[in-house]
């Protein structure tokens, strides 16, 4: 089940909210959330929901044991090492075995058969969440949760289990035990949720399909990489640029939309999750970009990898080593494939360069140039991210610069552009905090004026309008006359 599906919006969520509000006390409310979260997870992963429960159980026991062994340093250390081994081991097995074996095979020739292991959904997210919980208990930053089910609630909460943000236990601990909601929080949640939904259903989905048309679709790559490569190498130059641009927009809007919806739904029940995206495409340097993109992930790596390794306190060489390790892992976390690792290291290079003085230069030159620099770096980064198959990347790069022998613009690209020109403008504008700024400016200063009434009414019905439009778009998505027709 995905947030942007009709089943989630018009079946799962309403029923969940209804039963939630009917629940009288916090215990009942938490139980409702837990049950629904498990249903949500089982919906996508009927077998490996057991893995989620198992990992939570292990971590629950380990955290309690760590807390009990307060004072016995050696024991605590053993326990935390055990936790890391179990958690990382499990995610390693499920996510990285194939990758590992492939590489072994390429180098050594064995193993003969690469085991195909199913990747349970959300494992990257809940593993990290649980790991952060145990480490925080170890660091005595947070007391261990005595109630197993409430820890399970934390790790499986459907708002963030599948697609982030990576929520720290310390941030939600109080709210698990005691939540209050008031009308202003619920309203904020509604706005956030519908904005996220609209971002996904109206903009990101279209960007995705346009990107697939202009580049190649994943289904085509999966069914025949050769054909896909041929198709890709015949794209016009403008088509290639547009295609990567749409992918760049899609991946941001998609990901940030899920975070928006998670935060919005959390607000509706009294959870205040931290922001995960802060308009990353308005950043003016790579350093700034990574403070705005997938904040929960970069802060996880900062707090649990970079700082334990010494951060920047152990000398220059160690600092750069630490940065390197963090970015290696960041890339690897995104997928079990070398292109993701390369993507992480790609950013590592720029970050190091900025640390070495590039950042100062960027801060001195006019903002428009540093912004252009950032967008260019990110643009090319996404090309690395998009294609797991390395043979595609040079084709794209050549195509971008007209070295494939294709025209600048061809008929199909021009037609597609014409048919979507307003949409492109809207999609590009949606990465800037324009709406937020506009609503601040337009806020009425005096009450009980016709303007203030109008403002109130308009802002009140925007979420409903977005909901309706998103529904239309989602119904339309399952419309596929290309795949079926008679005769």
């Amino acid at each position: 089940m995905v947030f942007s599906s009709l089943f989630f919006i018009f079946a799962f969520l309403p029923v969940c909210m209804l039963i939630y509000w009917a629940a009288r006390n916090i215990k009942a409310k938490n139980t409702v959330l837990l049950v629904f979260s498990l249903i949500f997870y089982t919906w996508g992963e009927p077998v490996y929901v057991g893995l989620l429960v198992f990992m939570t159980l292990c971590d629950w026991l380990l955290a309690l044991a760590i807390e009990k062994s307060d004072g016995k340093e050696a024991r605590r250390k053993t326990l935390i090492v055990l936790t890391c081994v179990i958690n990382l081991g499990l995610i390693g097995v499920f996510k990285y075995t194939g990758f590992f074996c492939e590489n072994l095979q390429n180098i050594f020739g064995f193993p003969e058969n690469i085991p195909q292991i199913v990747l349970p959904i959300g494992i990257s997210f809940y593993t990290f969440q649980l790991l952060s919980y145990v480490i925080d208990v170890y660091r005595k930053e947070v007391p261990a949760q005595k109630n197993f089910f409430w820890l399970l609630l934390y790790s499986s909460l459907f708002y963030q289990c599948i697609a982030g943000p990576i929520v720290r236990y310390a941030d939600v601990e109080k709210e698990i035990h005691n939540r209050q909601t008031n009308i202003s929080e619920i309203t904020e949640g509604i706005t956030r949720f519908t904005v996220g939904l609209a971002k996904k259903a109206l903009i990101a989905n279209t960007c995705g399909s346009l990107s697939d048309t202009l580049l190649v679709s994943d289904t085509l790559i999966a069914s025949s990489a050769q054909t896909a490569l041929v198709e890709l190498s015949s794209r016009s130059v403008a088509g290639m640029w547009l295609g990567v641009l749409f992918y760049m927009l899609q991946i941001y809007l998609d990901f940030s939309a899920y975070s928006d919806m998670a935060i919005g739904m959390g607000l509706m029940v009294g959870f205040r999750f931290k922001e995960n995206f802060n308009y990353p495409y308005t950043a003016k340097s790579v350093t700034d970009f990574w403070r705005r993109w997938h904040i929960s992930l970069s802060s996880f790596f900062r707090d649990y990898v970079y700082i334990p390794l010494g951060g920047n306190r152990k000398g220059t060489i160690k600092t750069y080593r630490n940065i390197f390790i963090v970015w290696l892992l960041t890339g690897l976390w995104h997928g079990a494939s070398w292109n993701f690792v390369l993507w992480g290291l790609f950013f590592c290079v720029f970050l190091v360069a900025e640390k070495l003085g590039l950042l100062k230069i960027l801060q001195k030159i006019p903002a428009v140039f540093s912004h252009a620099y950032l967008l260019t770096v990110v643009f090319f980064g996404w090309i690395l991210f998009r294609f797991s198959n390395f043979s595609f990347i040079p084709v794209v790069l050549k195509g971008l610069f007209g070295l494939n022998g294709n025209p600048l613009v061809d008929f199909e690209t021009k037609t597609l552009f014409n048919a979507n020109v307003f949409f492109i403008i809207v999609a590009i504008l949606s990465v800037f905090p324009l709406v937020k700024k506009l609503s601040e400016k337009l806020k009425p200063k005096k009450a009980h004026t016709p303007y203030s009434y109008a403002y109130g009414v308009v802002t009140a019905i925007i979420p409903v309008a977005l909901l309706i439009l998103s529904t239309l778009s989602l119904v339309g998505d399952s419309y596929n006359p290309f795949l079926y027709f008679q005769f």
């Binding site: 599906s5 309403p14 996508g44 009927p46 027709f485």
Partner: protein
């Protein structure tokens, strides 16, 4: 006067006098209910009679300061109005709005000096009444208390409303500061000085010219006189000196006094200045406080409005959400079949253990939920309308354009020897429905909806009011197709003539050349030449492309559908006739029947784009003039008789093409009773053949129309026991790259 604490506030109420300039207060006064009935707090209350109010002069006002003046409510007094008989504003406390049990007195826009009227019922305590009686009646002098100012910012806030509390006991107001004394002016000082200026008496010197005659006596007398004079002088001088001293002393004193006065004057001046400055700042502060309060009130109002807006937002969102949910759960509203997409919509999955374990059960439920969402057709149409706003859609391309392969310049030489394994399918249709879906509605022909088999549509380009389908060449599928066609003759026991006909599609025929040259659709002429040159064992009918080009300005292809019209099929028929060596029947011999409102595959394939809907197609059918029987056998075994040209007036707009021989079926047998001794033929076709077959009727006694996709048998079996003169293969160029059809063909010719 400034009262800084609530306790200090003395809500003085006296009738206004015209000499007092009232000040406007903009705030609300909350009077705790206890204050109304608590005798203690109303100790110093004067009760006046109504006539006092009307006459404008209170009859009894104490010299010490009452908290509130109570009068009985005069029946004529309107509430909160500025008018009463006379000029006194009157407030009726009983009519005040009560918020949280506290009556709120709003003094907005009212003048300060008000009379608060509290009905005597509010006063319950008798001792209070007694105390009233004990109050001595004082003279009716109206003390002047000057301006009353209330510092609002220091008031406690309850629910955002500043509270003005009446004190428990009266507070004597601070003494009115006297006006500053008149400054000692220089003029007065002058005056004073002048007053005390000592007069310096003019001492005149006595001139004495005394004779020296009288001797000693005279001398003595003279000396005495002189002494006396000297004494006098001395006394005089002394007196003068004393006076001088006195004068000087007085001067000193005066000077001192003056200086003191000056100093005092200075002090007074400075004080006055300071006071002026203080007043100015106080005024400014007052103004600011007013402004602040106004903004606070405004904020409060804004907050109330914001809260209302929030309620509206929340309510409307959840209403819509739950309305949608309820709608979605009304199962009977869910469509089962999509007319525009011509497919059966997803079904609710059956529960099996493996479906559960694999997760398919759940994902199928989600798919079912989305796919059969109520009012799906209307919602998708609305969605398309919105998507049309994304840009200019003068020309739109729907679907992914395939590049395809290069068309070989030389024909295929010989059939390839190797077994070709299933080639990758660039246009991948989804799984073929199984036998279950091949049912029609209980064999009722009139309700027959060919619900089977699928063919994928290539990318569609919509230009103005017409749509066209892209074509691309597949170098993997082409040889398979060619080989199948070349094997027909053999499969039919070499008893028949095989005619190979491939029809072009509208994109290369009807689309204007300028636009066509921009489009990367494969060159159909080149492809046709390649196929025609490569076919073996067949008589190729190769003038079709040219014939269609010749007649391209006629209504030979549909605008909203990928098929050709009957007219377009006729021109192909002419070519066939020419190749076969028979005379084609002229079109004029046929009566026609036209069915309006046809919106075909391009309409649904482009998301029901409005442009195409504006100009629907017409299906014109040429009615056979022979006596014919048409017998249909469906793939599932159903058999029934049908019409060669069926009346499709009442059929769905997307289904009009089915007028021709009842659409695609396994075997359609058309018997021409007017030509019992004529030849027989088999037509192996897909849907393009449907419009073509009626024109063959006059030339044959029996026509067997076979669609390989629906017919399970083989050509070999079928032709075993029959005399077949001609076998005509007719497909459109897109079929030559349709792997489903090619698979079916290969199965047929086994």
């Amino acid at each position: 006067m400034i009262y800084n604490k609530p306790r200090d506030i003395n809500l003085r109420v006296i009738p206004s006098l015209s000499s007092l300039v009232p000040e406007k207060l903009t705030k609300r006064t909350a009077i705790p209910e206890e204050a109304l009935s608590d005798s203690k707090s109303l100790k110093n209350v004067i009760q006046t009679k109504p006539e006092d109010v009307s006459s404008g002069t209170p009859s009894a006002l104490p010299l010490d300061n009452p908290d509130v003046i109570i009068t009985e409510k005069p029946s004529f007094a309107p509430k909160l109005s500025n008018e009463i008989t006379g000029d006194e504003p009157v407030i009726d406390l009983t009519e005040l709005p009560i918020i949280d049990g506290i009556p709120i007195l709003e003094l907005k826009d009212l003048t300060v000096n008000k009379e608060i009227i509290i009905p005597s019922e509010a006063i319950e305590n008798t001792s209070f009444e007694e105390s009233l009686d004990k109050e001595p009646q004082k003279e009716a002098t109206i003390p002047d208390f000057g301006e009353v100012e209330i510092d609002i910012s220091e008031m406690p806030d309850i629910f955002g409303i500043p509270m003005l509390e009446l004190p428990d006991k009266p507070v004597t107001p601070p003494i009115v500061e006297a006006e500053e004394t008149a400054p000692v002016t220089d003029a007065i000082a002058q005056e004073n000085r002048a007053e005390h200026t000592p007069e310096i008496p003019v001492i005149e010197k006595e001139e004495t010219n005394k004779p020296q005659a009288t001797d000693k006596a005279a001398e003595k007398a003279l000396v005495k006189e002189q002494k006396r004079l000297e004494k006098q002088k001395a006394a005089e001088a002394l007196r003068i000196a004393k006076e001088e001293e006195k004068r000087l002393a007085k001067e000193e004193r005066d000077k001192k006094r003056l200086a003191a006065q000056e100093r005092r004057a200075e002090k007074e001046r400075a004080k006055k200045q300071a006071k002026q400055i203080k007043e100015k700042t106080q005024l400014a502060k007052k103004e600011k406080k007013k402004a602040d309060f106004a903004s606070k009130v405004n904020k409060l109002k804004n907050k109330k409005l914001t809260n209302k807006a929030r309620l509206l937002k929340t309510a409307s969102f959840f209403l819509m959400l739950y309305a949608g949910t309820i709608l979605a759960f009304i199962i009977p509203l869910r469509p089962v079949y999509s007319e525009t997409e011509k497919r059966k919509l997803a079904e609710f999955p059956d529960f099996t253990a493996e479906a559960f374990v694999s997760g398919d059960y759940f994902s199928d439920i989600s798919t079912w939920f989305s796919d059969t969402f109520p009012f799906r057709e209307a919602l998708t149409k609305a969605n398309t309308e919105i998507k049309n706003l994304y840009g200019f859609d003068t020309i739109a391309i729907h679907g992914d354009v395939e590049q395809g392969d290069e068309i070989p310049d030389i024909p295929l030489e010989q059939p390839p020897v190797e077994e070709t394994k299933p080639q990758p399918k660039p246009q991948a249709p989804v799984t073929m429905p199984d036998e279950e879906d091949l049912k029609t509605d209980n064999g009722d022909p009139s309700a027959a909806r060919p619900d089977y088999n699928t063919q994928s549509l290539g990318a569609i380009i919509v230009a103005n009011d017409s749509a066209y389908e892209y074509y691309s060449f597949s170098e993997d599928l082409a040889p398979r197709f060619i080989n199948s066609v070349s094997s027909i003759k053999n499969a039919a026991h070499n008893k028949s003539n095989v005619y190979a006909m491939i029809a072009p599609t509208s994109i290369d025929i009807k689309l204007n050349d300028a636009l066509r040259s921009d489009i990367s659709s494969a060159n159909q002429k080149k492809a046709l030449d390649y196929f025609n040159a490569s076919f073996k064992n067949s008589i190729v009918v190769d003038g079709i492309y040219e014939a269609e080009r010749l007649h391209r300005n006629e209504y030979t292809y549909f605008r909203t559908d990928h098929h050709w019209t009957a007219l377009g099929a006729y021109y192909a028929y002419e070519q066939f006739a020419q190749t076969k060596g028979i005379k084609p029947i002229p079109l004029s011999k046929y009566k026609t029947r036209t069915f309006d409102g046809f919106l075909g595959t391009f309409y649904s394939g482009s998301g029901q784009t409005a442009k195409l809907a504006e100009t629907p197609d017409k299906v014109t059918a040429y009615l056979p003039f022979n006596k014919t029987t048409c017998h249909i056998v469906e793939g599932n075994g159903n058999e029934f008789d049908w019409d060669v040209i069926k009346d499709v007036t009442d059929y769905d707009p997307g289904m009009k093409y089915i007028t021709f021989i009842g659409g695609d079926n396994a075997i359609t047998t058309i018997t021409n009773h007017d030509n019992p001794n004529g030849e027989t033929c088999i037509v192996i076709k897909e849907s393009f053949g449907n419009a073509f077959v009626p024109f063959l009727i006059p030339h044959y006694s029996t026509i067997y129309v076979i669609d390989p996709r629906h017919y399970d048998g083989t050509l070999s079996e079928f032709t075993q026991d029959k005399v077949i003169n001609d076998i005509i293969l007719l497909v459109n160029i897109s079929t030559t790259r349709n792997y489903l059809y090619i698979d079916a063909m290969e199965a047929l010719i086994q």
